[in-house]
């Protein structure tokens, strides 16, 4: 027989799996806030080049003169980066732990009562991580215009870069696929975060949290998808 673990002494709340989960939930919710705002910003593309670029410019001036130029943006970037680090770190820690919790797999296992999105969180997370890396190369850090092959400032203003990018069909497809991953992630992630934070103590609040998850998934992923689709369709140019 395998040896049985002893009783652990001196457990601390902060060292528990639940604390890890809470960090995930908080960082995840920060992302949710961010993507909502980001999506709203993206929709400015429908108001034309000027409005969109103004908006991008305006972001950089937000908080002035209290904050230096791009101050707000940098605060947001730092928060997002930290969140990303925390989110990914915890995701890896929990994933590894789950892997060790069942090293022999079932010959047959049915998961009939849970959503696909809940099972796809980890793969969806990886997809999102890859997407974010590419996305930043694409639009911020590298500013790579796949259409023209230009990078940096030469790639054009944000609006132009975006429009020209989505004129490339395969790139649009990649974005749209990423939005599917995002939708799945939000669908389960939102309700899951509510549960992790202990906000779903009865059947009603649980139903509500799930509904919010579904709505967010549709709104955010849908909202993001509009721009690439309409660019590809030539409505935005």
């Amino acid at each position: 027989m395998t040896t049985r673990p002893a009783l652990v002494k001196g457990s601390r709340a902060v060292r528990s799996t639940i604390a890890l989960k809470m960090l995930m939930a908080v960082s995840g919710l920060i992302f949710v806030g961010y993507v909502l705002a980001h999506m709203y910003g993206n929709l400015k593309a429908f108001s034309g080049q000027e409005a969109f670029n103004d908006y991008a410019h305006h972001l950089r001036e937000l908080g002035e003169p209290l904050l230096p130029h791009e101050g707000f943006l940098w605060i947001a970037r730092v928060v997002l980066l930290l969140s990303l680090f925390v989110h990914v770190f915890c995701a890896i820690a929990l994933w590894r732990r789950a892997g060790r919790a069942r090293t022999t797999k079932y010959v047959v296992k049915k998961n009939k009562h849970s959503s696909f999105s809940s099972h796809w969180m980890r793969w969806g997370g990886i997809t999102l991580l890859l997407f974010i890396i590419w996305h930043l190369l694409n639009f911020t850090v590298g500013r790579i215009n796949v259409n023209t092959g230009e990078t940096g400032d030469a790639a054009g203003d944000p609006y132009t870069l975006m429009v020209q990018s989505f004129e490339v069909p395969w790139l649009t497809v990649i974005y749209l696929l990423a939005m599917v991953a995002l939708a799945l992630h939000l669908h389960h992630g939102t309700w899951s975060a509510a549960q992790t934070l202990g906000l779903t103590n009865n059947a009603t609040s649980r139903r509500n949290a799930k509904a919010i998850g579904t709505i967010l998934a549709v709104v955010v992923a849908g909202g993001f998808s509009l721009v690439p689709i309409f660019v590809l369709a030539g409505v935005i140019d």
Partner: protein
């Protein structure tokens, strides 16, 4: 009816195991699933093959001793325990795969029998209200509002069977843990130890090697006592409170 059974057999915790196939005839639909295995064991015994080890005791759905992953579902296709599952849930000619609970915190003892003592150790870490015998005040000294009493009861029905762990893709025991946290946390008697209870119990849960919960919800669907998912929310909430209190 006639069945084709694919059953996991394993000599002991360390020996390698594998699926063996058995044919069983004349299964009546009035049999419970475990009675069907009894009949198979009679057959094996007659053929000179060692009977298959599996756990059961009350066979009434209350002791929590029976287990079995039946065709990929903990306690089989109905919301009940394996001992209360009847063969009328199956069809003539069915092929049924039977495996033990799989979780590294539940090591296999033999064939379909696993060691769930990890649950006892989780309880040892605070799944109780500290009151020595004879030290109790009159039972009517503390009224408990009926809704709280009902809720405490609903979640106290957990039988400690481990189906939640078996069903959870992460091998998490959060539902079991949450049920006990909620049961004691709903009652006025349980308040004094609420913070230390949750911290110590989750500490043991993690040390035993159970996975973390990602709110998938297979556990509650497999739970024969229909313990609701909100006990996990309650567990998280209590841990949250303990964090705030610096525990």
């Amino acid at each position: 009816m006639k069945l084709n059974l694919k059953i996991w057999r394993q000599e002991n915790a360390t020996a390698p195991g594998g699926i063996h196939t058995y044919e069983l005839d004349d299964v009546s639909e009035d049999m419970s699933f475990l009675e069907m295995l009894d009949v198979l064991n009679e057959q094996l015994n007659a053929e000179g093959e060692e009977p298959i080890a599996f756990d059961s005791d009350c066979r009434e759905g209350i002791c929590g001793q029976c287990s079995l992953m039946i065709d990929g579902e903990a306690h089989g296709p109905e919301v009940t325990t394996t001992c209360q599952l009847h063969m009328r849930s199956f069809r003539d000619g069915d092929s049924i795969t039977i495996e033990p609970w799989r979780a590294d915190a539940f090591p296999i003892v033999k064939d379909l029998v696993v060691d769930r003592s990890a649950f006892d150790r989780i309880i040892q870490q605070g799944g109780y209200i500290s009151v020595n015998t004879g030290a109790a005040p009159d039972a009517h000294a503390t009224p408990v509002p009926k809704d709280k009493a009902n809720r405490a009861f609903d979640v106290a029905t957990c039988i400690g069977c481990g189906a939640c762990v078996a069903a959870c893709p992460n091998g998490s025991a959060s539902l079991f843990l949450g049920a006990k946290i909620t049961h004691l946390g709903e009652l006025p008697q349980g308040q004094a130890e609420r913070d230390t209870r949750v911290v110590n119990m989750i500490g043991q849960h993690d040390a035993e090697g159970f996975g973390g919960c990602t709110n998938i919800g297979e556990c509650t669907a497999a739970c024969p006592k229909e313990i609701p998912l909100d006990v996990i929310s309650r567990l998280n909430w209590d841990l949250h409170a303990a964090l705030r209190h610096g525990k």
